[in-house]
């Protein structure tokens, strides 16, 4: 095993650092009378209790915090999020003023390079999906799902059927953002259960759709690596009922260059540029949910849309049927530069190779992982090779040893392995975990990941307390059992913390890491 230990700085909270009078940044003096320009009743009286630090102190504090962050310094195979290499060429370019110092309301003539890049990315994604138009306003995959729910409203409203069509159909295996955004947009959610073969039955779908169906929101393959071979019939069924079909392409990596959303009949799809297309994760954004749709739906897209007129590009704001906006401006531009850079570096052959490698490496992982004591996979009776992910279970290990998947996350991190993804709610297997190899990791990286898991399984059987009490090689130990959903305990700010620490009280509530581990940004 590789020896790993995180940096330990015992770094105090920034609120506890500094000395009165120190300055980290100074500005020119405004001269007399500036404060009086604020209306009399609105002048701040008590200064904010911010720390007072010099510039080098602030730099070193946050460099220490960066060193206490594992990120992708080790091997990270976080399933459903498709860990990607983020081209540092783009990292260099987005810091230049020609990107960083652009204002979204500049005249189009001054944004020609950017607009050409955005249009180029649009064309690339059209080529990949078969859709007719992409927009980038949504700030993440969930936001793109929301965009679809809102476009669904506009589409049915334009036909006078919205009051009647108030249901959106999805499956229990869809990412939670699909039912959640459908609900937030005002729809009722119909979630189909899974059958023995790993996906809901066509019969269940037929029973669920009706004149009330507004749309289907579905991913394929799912997070278990199972591809629904009847998906084209699903699309037909929903279309026959008058609903729209949205392809949540969160799990696109295994099918890039292998199929197109449009060819399967979908009306719209979404790619996460911070997953499949090389933009950084950044701990949860800034991100982009690229939303593409057919010509029929394009008139409803959020404005503005980048369009080409001859050899010029412009932001088209004049779209009378548009839903309006899901967010200000036209997208997280630096992430578009990353994605465009990644797409142009890869090309069609590169995408094809990436999906080949993703599926190949996943099947290699599966073979090795299933040789480890106590590791099983969901739906073991399905013999066809899984796509780019497989859903595994450590249920047997937990039953034998009492060691949980949360303990595994913590212990594997002791070897520099970033926490694996478990599963969205609801869990269909006990103690689930879902690695995704993708194309950026070498075989040696993946072997190391598997070796660490095997090692921790061995530890679980021989010295379970060692695993349960992990991590041991990090800056801090695991969280205690304080219930952070008890108002007496939670403190999202230092102010609240100081007040509640004085009051004490509160309750303990199981494993405080459990809630943490269920987030997949």
């Amino acid at each position: 095993m590789r020896r790993y230990h995180s940096a330990v700085w015992d770094e105090p909270l920034v609120m506890e650092l500094g000395r009165p009078g120190r300055r980290g940044v100074v500005f020119e003096d405004a001269g007399p009378g500036a404060t009086e320009l604020v209306p009399a009743g609105l002048r701040r009286e008590a200064a904010p209790a911010l720390p007072e630090l010099s510039e080098p102190e602030v730099l070193r504090h946050y460099l220490h915090l960066s060193q206490e962050t594992l990120g992708m310094m080790g091997v990270s195979l976080f399933g459903t999020c498709t860990m990607k290499y983020n081209p540092r060429l783009a990292w260099e370019l987005v810091a230049r003023p020609e990107i960083a110092e652009l204002h979204p309301d500049q005249d189009d003539e001054t944004l020609q390079g950017l607009l050409e890049l955005v249009h180029g990315l649009d064309l690339f994604l059209r080529g990949v999906s078969g859709m007719d138009q992409f927009v980038f306003q949504a700030g993440g995959g969930a936001h793109a799902a929301y965009t679809h729910a809102v476009i669904t409203r506009a589409y049915h409203a334009s036909r006078g059927e919205l009051a009647q069509r108030d249901e959106i159909v999805t499956s229990i295996q869809a990412h939670p953002c699909n039912p959640a955004t459908a609900n937030a947009a005002g729809f009722k959610v119909v979630s189909l259960p899974l059958e023995e073969n790993g996906y809901p039955s066509l019969e269940a779908l037929k029973a669920a759709v009706s004149e009330r169906t507004a749309a289907l929101m579905i991913n394929n393959p799912d997070d278990m690596g199972i591809y629904n071979p009847e998906i084209h019939k699903w699309v037909e069924t929903v279309h026959d009922a008058g609903g729209l079909c949205f392809y949540d392409h969160a799990n696109f990596n295994g099918v890039m260059g292998k199929l197109k959303a449009r060819d399967l009949g979908f009306d719209a799809c979404m790619y996460m540029l911070h997953k499949t297309f090389g933009a950084p994760k950044a701990g949860g954004g800034p991100a982009v949910g690229a939303y593409g749709c057919t010509e029929e739906l394009a008139r409803f897209l959020p404005a503005p849309v980048v369009v080409r007129d001859g050899d010029r590009y412009r932001l088209d704001h004049d779209r009378p049927d548009s839903i309006g906006k899901v967010r200000e401006f036209f997208g997280n531009v630096p992430q578009l530069v990353y994605a465009y850079t990644w797409c142009r570096a890869m090309g069609a052959e590169g995408l094809d190779e990436a999906s080949d490698v993703s599926v190949l490496l996943n099947n290699y992982m599966e073979k090795r992982l299933l040789e480890i004591r106590g590791v099983t996979k969901s739906h073991p009776h399905l013999t066809a090779p899984r796509m780019e992910m497989t859903r595994y279970s450590l249920g047997q290990v937990e039953e034998d040893t009492g060691v949980t998947v949360f303990d595994f996350q913590n212990r594997m991190a002791d070897f520099g392995i970033d926490a694996f993804w478990l599963s969205h709610e609801p869990w269909v297997v006990p103690a689930p975990f879902t690695p995704e190899a993708g194309e950026m990791w070498s075989k040696e990286d993946v072997d190391e990941w598997i070796d660490v898991l095997a090692h921790v399984v061995e530890e679980a059987y021989t010295d379970p307390e060692l695993v349960r009490s992990a991590p041991h090689n990090h800056a801090i130990a695991k969280l205690d059992a304080t219930d952070l959903s008890d108002p007496a305990n939670w403190a999202t700010t230092y102010r609240a913390y100081l007040r509640k620490r004085a009051e004490a009280g509160g309750s303990d509530g199981g494993d405080a890491t459990a809630g943490w581990a269920k987030v997949a940004p």
Binding site: L13, W91, A157, G350
Partner: protein, 463 residues
């Protein structure tokens, strides 16, 4: 093909090694789950790859060279994205690979990032004088949309009062978040007129429109047209007496010199985090926050991820998720709105920015911005035919009315652009009552000689 630099396994030898290990004849055999009729025929039609970084860089730098930016030009654009000074170390911190690459990690493995997030919320809480701050949302407009939905759930009511002068961008987002009348959960957006003298809310119109349906009164301080809401306390009192929540949008960079909104009765406070050390990036710098008093009633309605300080089994500081079960990750469609990727890297930049600024930095920058903006407005108002619509009580943005010059804003801005100046946002389309008016923004990045240049250029353009 040549091995691709981003893909370590893209060699024939490694394909063979992996295939042999699993006993598969070829890669194609691994795709049998996908029916043949679903498969793409003939490959993708995409532009040729530029796998050589040198070629790709040349292509991209060529594209970037076709942009005109606000560094080489002199810009007075604001209205939701603003040009502020970004200290150099903020850039270094936000660009560190450790902060750039994490997907999520564990409370211990990504401790440093989690602590930076807590320091974001803590320092913002000091600026706002509020105890509960969620992790950021996509933008100011999205924060307003969520806050309105929170208020509707809290009160069981279905209307929100919003200033008619709110940013058209933010209003469009709010309308989206408020839903459709045909469906469940619809919230009606009712616009409140503004006082043409002050730019603030017309209190008579507000009183008329407050009703038992009013879930919330939303206003901004300063508002889109740059003016402070001097009647803030009175508006909040009217809302409270009506059983409505008060939602206030703020520009956090003003809070070194401006009263934090909780002190005049705001219940939910929202705003942009972009002024706090995030580059404009053509709108890619947008980010928003939601904050309130730390009362359970409000906390239970947040749609954000909420990071709490906690303890480890060894008694160290650690950070965990509070109120996780109310998110869509915990409860799918039963959760509050939805939760997903947001703009969390900006929170790291914000934390470093606020730590650099300290109380005196915020006071100093606030004084400088308000003084420079007023100086600019005063000088522009001296030009023939140019009128400042709300000449007092604004922060960094102000409305310049060119109607009496006989020129449209479009004409004025075209003339300025020829002189390397980006004029203010043209308001004439959205706010015809303001005539040929532009919204100009002046901040700490503008030097006195920049104002000279603007005045001189305008004299030429208007001559």
């Amino acid at each position: 093909m040549t091995a691709h630099p981003y893909m370590p396994n893209s060699t024939p030898e490694l394909h063979r090694e992996l295939l042999d290990a699993i006993g598969a004849p070829d890669v194609e055999s691994l795709f049998v789950q996908i029916p043949a009729e679903h498969r793409l025929q003939g490959g993708l039609d995409l532009p040729p790859a530029l796998a050589s970084e040198a070629s790709l860089r040349r292509h991209l730098v060529g594209l970037l060279a076709r942009n005109e930016d606000c560094e080489r030009n002199l810009s007075f654009l604001g209205g939701g994205i603003w040009q502020h000074h970004v200290p150099a170390i903020v850039d270094e911190i936000a660009r560190r690979s450790e902060f750039l690459t994490p997907v999520w990690g564990t409370p211990s493995s990504d401790l440093g990032r989690n602590q930076a997030w807590f320091e974001f919320a803590s320092q913002l809480g000091e600026l706002l004088a509020l105890d509960f701050v969620g992790l950021p949302v996509y933008s100011w407009g999205c924060a307003e949309g969520h806050a309105i939905r929170m208020a509707a759930r809290l009160t069981g009511r279905d209307q929100v009062l919003v200033p008619a002068t709110i940013s058209p961008e933010r209003l469009a987002v709010i309308r989206t978040y408020c839903g459709s009348p045909e469906l469940a959960g619809y919230i009606e957006v009712v616009l409140v007129d503004h006082d043409p003298e002050t730019g603030g809310l017309d209190l008579n119109d507000l009183r008329t429109k407050l009703s038992p349906r009013t879930a919330a009164v939303l206003f901004e301080n300063p508002g889109y047209l740059g003016t402070f809401e001097a009647a803030a306390a009175e508006i909040a009192a009217l809302a409270r007496a009506n059983g409505s929540e008060t939602i206030v949008g703020v520009d956090p960079i003003s809070l070194g010199i401006v009263t934090p909104p909780g002190e005049y009765g705001a219940d939910l406070v929202v705003g942009s985090i972009q002024p706090l050390g995030v580059h404009m990036s053509a709108g890619g710098g947008a980010g928003g926050f939601i904050a309130s008093r730390d009362e359970e009633r409000y906390a239970r309605e947040y749609p954000t991820l909420n990071l709490s300080i906690g303890r480890t089994v060894n008694g160290e500081h650690g950070f965990g998720m509070a109120l996780f079960e109310q998110t869509s990750y915990g409860s799918r469609e039963e959760g509050n709105d939805w939760t997903g990727n947001s703009v969390y890297l900006h929170a790291v930049a914000n934390a470093a920015y606020m730590a650099l600024m300290g109380p005196e930095g915020f006071a100093e920058v606030g004084r400088l911005i308000i003084a420079r903006a007023h100086e600019a407005a005063r000088r522009l108002g001296e030009l023939d035919g140019v009128r400042i619509r709300f000449p007092e009580g604004f922060f960094k943005e102000f409305v310049v009315d060119f109607s009496d010059t006989g020129r449209t804003v479009a004409e004025v801005n075209a003339g300025l652009r020829e002189r390397g100046i980006f004029g203010g946002i043209d308001l004439s389309g959205y706010f015809p009552d303001l005539g040929q008016s532009a919204l100009l923004c002046v901040t700490e990045v503008h030097a006195p000689e920049d104002l000279d240049r603007l005045v001189d250029a305008l004299k030429e353009v208007l001559a």
